[in-house]
């Protein structure tokens, strides 16, 4: 009983982080048809930006906010310099993937040069642990979950109800029709990449207060987030959020009952089974044809 509650809690905590990563990925795919393999690097940017601000004496809450903004800015620059020149060109699929791998490699190398290979850690916002029937729940974990969940709900509301959010959905469903409605497609792309980057940055900030931060520590969260976006049905935000929590709980349960070394292999086995049974994800439908 204690084990399963502990595992569920761990799953909800990590699921929130996967959600932050995966929603950005799925938005970029849905609206821009961009498979962003620099997402892990953006996570790292967020973590190191927050660490740097804190190191320079910026209050923690402000440092977190600044780090998220900074990561969004890096995403925007990535869009302007690397993504936008490829839009509408031949071989977009391959070119954009290679370009984002290039960005990821560059960011990792830069972080390694500036900060060195030693791991860093951001101080928790809150200290202390609640104990209940042998289950340990850290106050920091609760804070991280609340921040992540609130951000996810905010994004969900933004996409569902705001004018700009509707524009993002319209671009992901029919480019020509969106253009006829007066939606600037490139501007929408820029917003999506910036927002996705900011969410990855937030994931990097909050997870770096629990796990260690290194130049390559974004890789595993990105890989898991990619799996999550496939479970959720690429492009579906609601499906992605639900899939993030299911994935978090699955990984956490495997870790508790089988051992941490089985978590990733188990997840990939699950992914293979899901893809065979439901090729468009747990919540996805057959893809919309795009011109």
């Amino acid at each position: 009983m204690t084990d399963i509650v502990q595992a569920l809690w761990g799953g909800i905590l990590t699921g929130s982080i996967y959600g932050l990563m995966a929603v950005g990925l799925t938005l970029m795919w849905g609206a821009v048809r961009l498979l962003n393999l620099a997402h892990g690097a953006l996570y790292v940017v967020g973590g190191y930006a927050a660490w740097t601000f804190v190191d320079h004496g910026v209050p923690l809450v402000l440092a977190v906010a600044l780090a998220v903004v900074a990561t969004g800015a890096v995403g925007y620059v990535m869009f302007l310099v690397v993504i936008r020149p490829l839009l509408g060109r031949a071989m977009w699929d391959a070119a954009s993937i290679i370009a984002t791998v290039g960005v990821a490699t560059g960011i990792q190398a830069l972080v390694l040069l500036v900060y060195g290979p030693q791991v860093k850690k951001i101080d928790p916002f809150l200290s202390g642990v609640y104990h209940w029937e042998g289950v340990a729940i850290s106050r920091q974990g609760i804070a991280v979950t609340v921040i992540a969940l609130a951000s996810l709900l905010l994004v969900y509301w933004y996409l569902g109800s705001s004018r700009q959010g509707m524009a993002i959905r319209s671009v992901s469903q029919n480019l020509d029709a969106a253009s006829l409605m007066g939606v600037s497609v490139h501007r929408t792309y820029a917003i999506v990449v910036t927002l996705g980057a900011a969410l990855a940055g937030l994931a990097g900030v909050v997870l770096s207060s629990i796990l260690f931060l290194s130049p390559s520590s974004g890789f595993n969260p990105m890989v898991i987030a990619l799996v999550v976006t496939m479970f959720g049905g690429l492009g579906s935000v609601k499906g992605t959020i639900v899939a993030a929590y299911l994935t978090g709980i699955f990984v956490s349960v495997v870790q508790v009952y089988a051992g941490a070394q089985y978590a990733l292999p188990g997840l990939f086995l699950l992914m293979m089974i899901v893809i065979v049974i439901r090729p468009h994800g747990l919540f996805g439908r057959a893809p919309v044809q795009r011109l």
Binding site: D176, M181, G182
Partner: protein, 238 residues
């Protein structure tokens, strides 16, 4: 003639370099005027409208909307400048509700703040849409999608309203309704450019008719003179 809403001079346009679908086309639409481009399927009507709304980039010529040069402007800029293009085919947002699709018709800034009133008017005009407003647009039938596209185009004020094949895929009784609506819109003083392959309705509706054949404007005149020439109509429209 009053001030021209649309002025097109020597427009040449197509999808592939060197393969022009529209050749050296010139036309004007005056304020409050309804101009019909009549021609068989596949002769360039849709390409003409798509070139005017920025979905296809012209290779030569000049386009002015209310005096403003929009020849090489992006689609969203042209829309913001007051062009409303009700396209042919399935240019709806399938994963949005009917109501959200209509709301997108009022996306342009000044219209957005009046969207509630516009929505009420459009739902009034198309009761079918009203009864399905919460459903996903992707679940609509072909005729309902057509009505959705029409309704969406009426969600904001337009300097020029372009309608591509208003009756395509609609049941006869609904076709009558749609042309009735277009007549009402015209009566309100709206400038309209209508592309049609069917001469049945444009006689009483159009101020001027242009015949399009293989991407070239071959004849232009009042409906009375053009449409009374049965030999001509048979030759061009079959």
């Amino acid at each position: 003639m009053s001030h021209a809403v649309l002025e097109v001079e020597g427009l040449t346009s197509g999808y592939l370099p060197g393969v022009d679908v529209i050749l050296d086309a010139s036309l004007t639409v005056a304020e409050g005027e309804l101009v019909v481009v009549l021609g068989p399927n596949g002769h360039g009507k849709s390409t003409l409208l798509r070139s005017l709304s920025g979905l296809v980039s012209p290779s030569a010529g000049r386009i002015r909307l209310a005096g403003e040069d929009i020849t090489h402007a992006r689609g969203d800029r042209i829309a913001a400048a007051g062009m409303v293009h009700i396209p042919q085919g399935d240019l709806i947002f399938p994963d949005m509700s009917v109501e959200e699709n209509l709301m997108m018709g009022a996306y342009v800034k000044p219209a957005w703040s009046h969207r509630a009133g516009a929505l009420a008017r459009v739902l009034d005009l198309f009761p079918t849409l009203a009864s399905r407003r919460a459903e996903l647009a992707g679940s609509l039938s072909g005729g309902e999608r057509r009505m959705l596209a029409l309704g969406r185009g009426l969600m904001r004020e337009a300097k020029l309203l372009m309608i591509d094949e208003p009756s395509l895929g609609l049941a006869p009784v609904i076709i009558e309704q749609v042309y009735g609506r277009i007549a009402e819109i015209k009566a309100s003083g709206q400038a309209i450019l209508l592309a049609d392959e069917n001469a049945d309705h444009v006689g009483e509706l159009g101020d001027r008719v242009i015949l399009l054949e293989s991407g070239v404007f071959v004849r232009e005149g009042t409906p009375a003179t053009l449409l009374s020439d049965t030999a001509l109509l048979t030759a061009y429209l079959g």
